[in-house]
C-alpha cells in the first residue's frame, strides 16, 4: 500500500529550490555574515580546541604534543568521573523537568482559578540572571537561612542544604528547576492551545474520564512538545548551570556539585591546564552531540503526527 503511494508521488522539484539564479546568489550573499560568525566563533574554536586537547600547553604558551594523553588522564581522573556521575544524576531528574511544567500547564489550561496569575508568577524567575538567583538562594538555603528558619518554626531540624555533599546537588537541581520551569509551562500552554476541543469532547463521548482524557488523549497529542522541552532542557542543564554552581556551591562540597562544564573552567582558569580542559570540552561536546542526535531522531520519527 505505502509502496504504491510512494511510486505515484509527483517527481521531485528541480534541484536548487526556489527562485532564479540571481535570487539564489543573493540568498547566499545574505547568508554569508551568519556563516562567517559560525565559522569564526564555533567551527574554528572547535578545531583549535581539538588540537589544544592534544597538547600540554600552559597559559604562557609553553608545551608539547602529548597525543591522547589528556584523554587517557580524563578516563582515570576521579574528579572528572565524579562530574560525569553528577551529570547522570542530573539527567535522571529529566522527567521532573518535563512533567512538572506539563502538569502545571494542563491545570492552568483546564481553567483553575487564577491561572493567568500563576502563569506570570511561574515565568518570572526565567527573566532573572543565574547570578541573582544564586544570590537569592544562598540566602534562603544557608544553614541559618530563611528556609531552615521556616522549618524550625514548624519543628523540623535545620538541614544543611548546600554544605553537605548528600544535599548539595539536589538543592542545586531544585534551584535550577525553579528558575527555568516557567518557560516549560509557557511552551506547554501554547502546545495545549493546539489540541482541538472537539477531540477532547469526542473522548468524553467515548467514555473517557478526566484522567483518561489527560493521559490517553491530551498527553499523547503533546508528544512532539514533550520531546522539544526534553531536548531544550537537557542542553540547558548541561551548559547553563555554571553561574548557579559558581555562586551557590563552587562545585563543592568536595566534587558533589561539580559538573563537566564547571570542571572545564576549573582546569582552564584555576589549575592552568588548558590542554586538559580542552580534552574534557571535547568529551562533553561529543556527549551532548550524541544526546542531541538521539533526541532529534526520536523527534523526527514523530513528525507525521
Amino acid at each position: 500500500m505505502t509502496v504504491k503511494t510512494h511510486k505515484t508521488k509527483p517527481p521531485r522539484k528541480r534541484r536548487g529550490g526556489f527562485g532564479s539564479k540571481q535570487e539564489q546568489r543573493f540568498a547566499y550573499l545574505m547568508l554569508l555574515p551568519a556563516l562567517a560568525l559560525v565559522l569564526i566563533f564555533r567551527v574554528i574554536p572547535l578545531i583549535w580546541g581539538f588540537f589544544l586537547s592534544l597538547t600540554n600547553v600552559d597559559t604562557l604558551g609553553n608545551g608539547d604534543w602529548v597525543g591522547f594523553a589528556n584523554y587517557a588522564r580524563a578516563a582515570n581522573d576521579p574528579t572528572f568521573q565524579d562530574s560525569l556521575i553528577n551529570t547522570v544524576i542530573l539527567l535522571a531528574t529529566l522527567p521532573i523537568w518535563v512533567m512538572l511544567p506539563m502538569l502545571l500547564a494542563i491545570l492552568i489550561h483546564q481553567g483553575v482559578p487564577g491561572g493567568k496569575f500563576y502563569r506570570a508568577v511561574y515565568f518570572f524567575p526565567a527573566v532573572l540572571s543565574s547570578v541573582i538567583i544564586g544570590a537569592i538562594f544562598s540566602v534562603v538555603l544557608r544553614y541559618d537561612g530563611s528556609l531552615n528558619n521556616m522549618l524550625g518554626a514548624v519543628g523540623i531540624d535545620a538541614i544543611d542544604w548546600l554544605g553537605s555533599s548528600s544535599n548539595a546537588l539536589g538543592s542545586l537541581i531544585a534551584v535550577q528547576l525553579w528558575s527555568t520551569f516557567g518557560m516549560g509551562v509557557l511552551i506547554f500552554m501554547s502546545g495545549l492551545a493546539t489540541v482541538p476541543d472537539d477531540i477532547i469532547e469526542a473522548a468524553r463521548i467515548d467514555g473517557a474520564g478526566f484522567w483518561q482524557r489527560l493521559f490517553l488523549v491530551i498527553v499523547p497529542s503533546l508528544r512532539p512538545i514533550i520531546e522539544f522541552v526534553a531536548v531544550v532542557t537537557t542542553i540547558g542543564v548541561l551548559t547553563s548551570m555554571f553561574g548557579l554552581i559558581y555562586v551557590l556551591t563552587g562545585g563543592g562540597p568536595g566534587t558533589s556539585t561539580t559538573l563537566p562544564e564547571f570542571l572545564i573552567w576549573l582546569e582552564q582558569g584555576k589549575l592552568n591546564r588548558p590542554g586538559y580542559a580542552a580534552a574534557i570540552s571535547m568529551i562533553l561536546f561529543v556527549m551532548m552531540g550524541g544526546i542531541a542526535w538521539m533526541q532529534v531522531r526520536i523527534m523526527s520519527r514523530n513528525t507525521n503526527l
Binding site: 500500500m1 482541538p196 469532547e201 473517557a208 497529542s221 507525521n304 503526527l305
Partner: protein, 353 residues
Amino acid sequence: MAELALQDVRKSFGAVDVIKGVDLEIKDGEFTVFVGPSGCGKSTLLRMIAGLEEVTSGDIMIDAEVVTDEEPFDREIAMVFQSYALYPHMTVAENMAFALRLQGMSKPERRKVVEQAAEVLKITPLLDRRPAQLSGGQRQRVAIGRAIVREPKVFLFDEPLSNLDAELRVQMRIEIARLHGELKSTMIYVTHDQTEAMTMADRIVVLRDGLVEQVGAPTDLYDDPDNMFVAGFIGSPKMNFLSVAATGPRQVSLGGLSLDLPQLKNDLNVGTEYALGVRPEHLFGGEGPGLTMQIEVVEQLGQTAYVHGRLGAEAQPVVVELRDQRPKTGQTIEITFDLSRATLFDAQEQRVR
C-alpha cells in the same frame, strides 16, 4: 434503538438566550434533521442532547429516562463531528476501538468489532493508518465507524459533510442514508443545507433563532409550510413571495389580475395586504390565469432552467422554473399561476389557510 424527548429545553450563555424553549419528540429509529440558518442554535441543541453542553432549564429524555444531567457516555449516544475529531496519535483501528478499550473489551474482540464496522464502511485497507494519512472523505468514514462500533442508542451528526467537496457529499449522503436503513437506529443530523435535509430526513425540524418553527416530513414542509420562514427556507430556488391585496373573502389581486383561492377555509379581510407564496415550478405551463414577464437572467441547468424577472406594475422579482426549454435573456414569457399549490401568508408571516 431509542426514543428521545426534549421538554421546554433552554440554553443561555451568560445573558444571551440561545435556545429559547424547545419541545420535541423523536421516535425510535427515526432520522431527524435539524435545519436552520447559521447561528440559529442547531449545534447547541445537538450538543445539549449529547451532554457536551449544560442545559439551562428543561429536560432531555432518552427512552423515557431523564438524562439531563448525565455524562455523555452514560447517555449511550455517539457523535460525528464536522471536523471529524479523530485522535491524531492513534491508528484508524485504535480510533474506532477507543471507546471499547475504555470499556475493557479484550484486544481480539475489539479488532473483530472494528473489522466488521470497517467492512460496512469500506475502510478495511485503512485500518493501520493514522488520520493524517487519510483524505477528508476517508476521515469522515472513520469518524462514522467510531460511532458505529459503540452501538449507541442515538447517533448525532453535526454537519458531517460540510468539509467535503460536492460530489463526495452526495455520495456520503447516500451512504449515511443506507447506513440508517441497515442499523435502523435513531439518528439526529444537523445541517444548514436544505437539500441534505430534504433528501435524508424522515422528519425535519426547522429552527430559527433558538425556536422550532415547524416539524414535519420533508414533503409536508415543502407543500404545506406553517409560515413564511419555513416556506422560504425549504426548497431551492426559494419560493416566490408576491405581495397581493385581498379583493374578496377568497380572492386576491396581483397586477390587475384577480386570483381565486377556493381552498382557503377562512375569509380574507378585504383590502388587507397578504403575501402569496408560489414555488418556481408552479409558475409555468399551467392552466391558471397568466401574466407576461420579461426575462432578466437565465440559469440554465440543462433539463431545467431558472429564469429571473419582474412581475406587474410593482416589478416584484420572481424566479420561474422552465423544463426542456432554452430561454434567452430579453425574451418575454407567459407566467401562469397554479393556484391550487399556492400558499398565502398574513402580515405576521403566518400561514393563512
